[in-house]
């Protein structure tokens, strides 16, 4: 990894509009110099931090659930058994049953795939579009930069969930809409981070030197700019996955995301509201699944930030960006 | 600690009452790092001690530890630092508050970061007198005006309401000096106060501190990486390397008869102008890593002499080479002052 560049004045920007995924300056406490990183290897460094390792373990479990869910779940997601409706947790139903007698454990397990898919696709959209826009803005400057960044400012003025709701209102509820809506909402964050890193790299002497000897823009982008933004982008991807999953859960909770009969954690919580006095297990377990998944992505994201993006966001940089 | 000579040759032969600060075998460790390794010196009342060393030599740590302005933990401080016979090292935070700002004033290296950006000059200048001396707002204000006048700030009344960012670097450092002197301290600690300033301002600040010291009878510890700057103010100089005093002598003696190869290197690296910005990096290499100090002489790997077989295996002890002159080397420490450089290599 090349040496971290001086962050541009936009350091804070990635967080705007979504404080949750923003650069939380506190946890960024670089313990290692970049040289040490390349020597020990990123993965080893990640695992050497116990907290990050715990996040990785949870993450692997969630992914296993998503992939192997069908074989792990003892019941189908929609196996209705009205006789055994609203049963508290027991040997037969680890997490109890819902109002239709469906097995909450099975539904929690089977929802993992949906949640991860929505998260991955949404962040994938945001990543591709955001990085492309950020590169254009940062590398070419001028009016494309102005238009792109002002548009990002505008999108940041809407709370994430509200914007997603508005998009759903237009396109109609459903899985695809949810992915598009969340993708759109997270695009500006990637655009801002990419632009900031690109601006910093563009001013570097070695990039100017490449330009001077006639290297094409494409070559410079591939050789110098992309490798430099990989660190911050990777970190942001992990953190965004966490909050994309949260956003999907919130949308589904509001009945605007994943639609029945497809099981989803948010939707399960929506259904659980009506039985909040009688069946606590319907509320507790799906929420716990969301919480642990989001926590895992956050822990891993924070761990990666310490390793890959070790520049300290000092108070001064935050101040300048205001 | 490694250095445990019972005698303190660095202290001038003055066991009478005119020693203000008497530091004995001071050591500082932070984790595995041995930052200060048995430093002893004393500051006479009204006198000025210059402490010279390049960055990483432990000079700031030494003085901050001696004056109790170091965070402990994480730092572990041992040895003694007697201010009028009271040991600062063992003081609790409450006792230290009675020393800091009241009996010992501090000026730091970078005036642009050492003043609080969100408070006015008046707020920063009056808080210590109001706390320590119990002055009223009005009295503290009057005192602040006198102080600004004393440090040479033009138009003090209008400066009271200024914020630091409205002042030039030199003005900021003058305000810092005023802050340090606000309660009439007996000792002024100046930690490279002129390094960040241009040459002219540097000279003015130096002159101003000298005047103030004489008019107030205050003692000064002046830390610098620049022998030239120190020569303008100190009566006595201690050269620090690897957290040890490698040579200590009265100012003239140090200049006319430097004994330690490191001191000689500093002399050679010094530009001819008295207040020029001397670069010490002319001696190739860098100070030892405090986490992995060598077994022998700390200067060994950079030493141009290295004549003695003990150099690599033993730490040279402090050796007196004159009534007030000590040096820590196996080479050049002879009382006759022979330069053995040619003979050994």
């Amino acid at each position: 990894m090349s040496s971290p560049e001086t962050p541009s004045s936009d350091r804070l920007a990635p967080g705007a509009g979504d404080g949750r995924t923003g650069p939380v300056p506190g946890p960024a406490e670089p313990a290692e110099t970049p040289e040490e990183v390349s020597r020990t290897g990123t993965l080893r460094m990640l695992v050497s931090n116990k907290v990050t390792a715990a996040g990785l373990v949870i993450l692997v479990l969630v992914v296993l659930l998503a992939v192997l869910g069908r074989w792990i779940a003892p019941y189908g997601a929609n196996d209705i058994d009205v006789v055994n409706a609203l049963q508290p947790p027991s040997g037969a139903h680890l997490f109890g049953t819902d109002e239709l007698g469906r097995d909450v454990f099975s539904r929690v397990v089977l929802s993992a795939r949906i949640s991860l898919t929505v998260g991955l696709v949404a962040v994938g959209i945001a990543l591709v579009v955001g990085v492309a826009l950020g590169l254009v803005a940062g590398f070419f400057g001028g009016w494309p930069d102005t238009v792109i960044m002002r548009s990002a400012d505008v999108l940041f003025a809407f709370p994430i969930l509200l914007l997603a709701m508005a998009i759903v209102a237009v396109l109609g509820p459903g899985l695809t809409t949810a992915m598009i809506a969340i993708g759109v909402v997270y695009t500006p964050i990637f655009a801002r981070i990419t632009r900031a890193s690109t601006l910093a790299v563009r001013e570097e002497l070695y990039v100017k030197a490449s330009q001077a000897v006639g290297a094409s823009d494409g070559l410079i982008l591939r050789r110098h700019v992309l490798p430099n933004i990989m660190g911050p982008i990777t970190v942001q991807t992990s953190l965004s996955l966490a909050f994309a999953i949260l956003s999907e859960a919130a949308l589904s909770f509001l009945g605007l995301g994943v639609q029945p009969p497809e099981p989803s954690w948010g939707r399960m919580l929506y259904d659980a509201q009506a039985f909040i006095y009688d069946a606590w297990w319907m509320s507790v377990f799906p929420g716990l699944a969301i919480f642990l998944t989001v926590l895992a992505f956050n822990l891993v994201g924070d761990g990666m930030r310490d390793v890959l993006d070790p520049r300290q966001r000092t108070a001064d940089e935050i101040r300048r960006s205001a | 600690m490694r250095t445990t000579e019972p005698r303190r040759p660095t202290a001038p032969a003055s066991s009478d009452g005119d020693v203000l600060l008497d530091v004995r075998d001071l050591a500082v460790r932070i984790g595995p790092a041995e930052i200060v390794n048995g430093v002893s010196f004393s500051v006479p009342r009204g006198g000025t001690l210059g402490i010279v060393g390049e960055s990483g030599s432990g000079k700031s740590m030494t003085v901050l530890a001696a004056t109790g302005l170091i965070d402990s933990p994480p730092a572990r401080v041992s040895g003694q630092s007697l201010l009028d016979g009271q040991d600062i090292v063992t003081m609790d935070p409450r006792q230290l508050r009675g020393v800091h700002g009241r009996r010992v004033g501090f000026i730091f290296q970078d005036p642009s970061t050492s003043l609080n950006p969100v408070l006015t000059v008046e707020q920063q200048l009056t808080e210590a007198p109001r706390f320590h001396l119990g002055l009223t707002r009005r009295d503290a204000r009057r005192r602040a005006l006198e102080l600004l006048e004393a440090v040479g700030i033009p138009d003090p009344p209008s400066r009271l309401s200024s914020y630091p960012h409205q002042l030039s670097g030199g003005m900021k450092q003058r305000v810092m000096i005023a802050v340090a002197l606000a309660c009439d301290p007996e000792l002024l600690v100046a930690d490279e106060p002129t390094t960040a300033l241009d040459v002219t301002t540097q000279a003015q600040i130096l002159e101003r501190v000298k005047e103030l010291q004489e008019s107030r009878g205050m003692s000064v510890i002046w830390i610098s990486h620049d022998l030239g700057v120190v020569s303008g103010i100190a009566d006595r100089v201690a050269v620090l390397y690897g957290g040890q005093i490698v040579e200590s002598a009265p100012l003239e003696e140090l200049f006319t008869d430097p004994r330690h190869p490191y001191t000689r290197g500093l002399m050679a690296a010094r530009p001819q102008t008295a207040h020029g910005k001397g670069e010490l990096a002319v001696i190739p290499g860098s100070p030892p890593d405090p986490k992995h100090l060598p077994q022998g002489c700390l200067f060994w790997d950079r030493c141009p002499v290295r004549g003695d077989p003990r150099c690599e295996t033993e730490r040279p002890p402090e050796t007196p080479v004159g009534p007030e002159h000590v040096v820590r080397t196996f080479n050049g420490g002879d009382a006759d002052g022979t330069d053995r450089r040619g003979g050994t290599r």
């Binding site: 949750r20 505008v154 209102a169 909040i276 509320s283 956050n298 935050i318 | 501090f106 609080n116």
Partner: protein, 318 residues
């Protein structure tokens, strides 16, 4: 007022106006992007030709796009946000009716968030590396990851169902029954405040850490001032500058959280309103709410900028 402050504020105001214009474009575009005929979609099973024509004319949808756009902006600037597809009421009136509930919940949430973030963040920073620091960081990491609506459900289960201490939902205006309001605002306020507070705790911690390590705090300590003076006067005031910046950004998170929490707690504010409107495809109400919430966000950030200038003399005076 000195000129640097004025210049700063004018600059921020202009930026706000530019963003607000963009917000209006987005909000206007919402209706245009609805596939098919939004009025027909909105009316759904209630469709009759008369009601369709009436609604279409009332919302100006029969006019050319650019005319519609400028009419929308002109109307919006004069406080006319159209009429609800569902009830026919002016959207502005509906919004004004719902605003107090959201504001009161938002204030409760911010208060709780600040009560969490400032003490914990400062404490963790001042005892960096200690067990307390580790504990606070862990708890704030949990708080950042917890879905706020789930937290709301858990709070209801524990405090209403199990302990029977507080009402599970509902709203009483503060002006009518302060005590009743307080009882009902605690749980939703906690659900919003804990999440925002956790995020802010991390910012406060790092801001305080930055300042504590600064040279001017060393200067303050070298004056022998009592610890509480050093922290209160020198550390907190400076830490406030970066904290304020993130507080403005956090407003968006907070406003987003309010929407879903209002749904959980049946709190009749803007969040509940937009939720119902989205379900009913009442586009003018969706547009109006989105616009109002974005406006609130922009105003909060403008307010933060002003506070900023108050705290930091480098902006106020040159």
């Amino acid at each position: 007022m000195s000129s640097p402050l004025l210049r700063f504020l004018v600059k921020r105001l202009l930026h706000t106006v530019v963003v607000l214009f963009g917000v209006l474009v987005v909000v206007f575009a919402l209706l245009q992007l609805v596939p098919g005929d939004p009025v027909r979609v909105a009316l759904g099973t209630r469709f009759t030709q008369e009601s369709y024509d009436a609604l279409r004319e009332a919302s100006g949808l029969d006019r050319p796009l650019l005319v519609q756009f400028f009419a929308y902006i002109g109307n919006a600037l004069t406080g006319n946000l159209g009429v609800s597809f569902r009830s026919g009421e002016p959207v502005t009136l509906i919004l004004l009716d719902r605003l107090p509930a959201t504001v009161s919940l938002g204030l409760a949430g911010i208060t709780i968030a600040l009560l969490i973030a400032f003490p914990l963040g400062t404490w963790a920073a001042l005892r960096r590396g200690s067990a307390a620091d580790g504990g606070i960081r862990a708890v704030s990491q949990f708080g950042v990851s917890v879905p706020d609506f789930w937290l709301g459900l858990l709070l209801i289960i524990v405090f209403s169902t199990m302990l029977g201490l507080l009402p599970p939902s509902g709203y009483v205006p503060f002006t009518e029954d302060p005590w009743g309001w307080l009882q009902r605002v605690i749980l939703p306020g906690l659900a919003v405040g804990v999440v925002s507070g956790s995020i802010m705790t991390r910012y406060v911690r790092s801001a305080v850490l930055d300042v504590v390590g600064s040279h001017y705090v060393r200067t303050a300590r070298s004056k022998g001032l009592p610890r509480r003076t050093v922290i209160g006067r020198h550390v907190m005031r400076n830490a406030l500058v970066p904290i304020l910046t993130v507080a403005g950004v956090q407003a968006a998170t907070m406003l987003g959280g309010l929407i879903v929490i209002e749904v959980v707690f049946a709190w009749p504010g803007l969040g509940r309103l937009v939720f119902d409107a989205v379900a009913a495809r009442d586009y003018p109400v969706v547009q109006g709410t989105v616009l109002l919430i974005a406006l609130i966000f922009l105003l909060i950030n403008l307010l933060v900028d002003i506070l900023y200038a108050v705290v930091d003399p480098r902006i106020r005076v040159s």
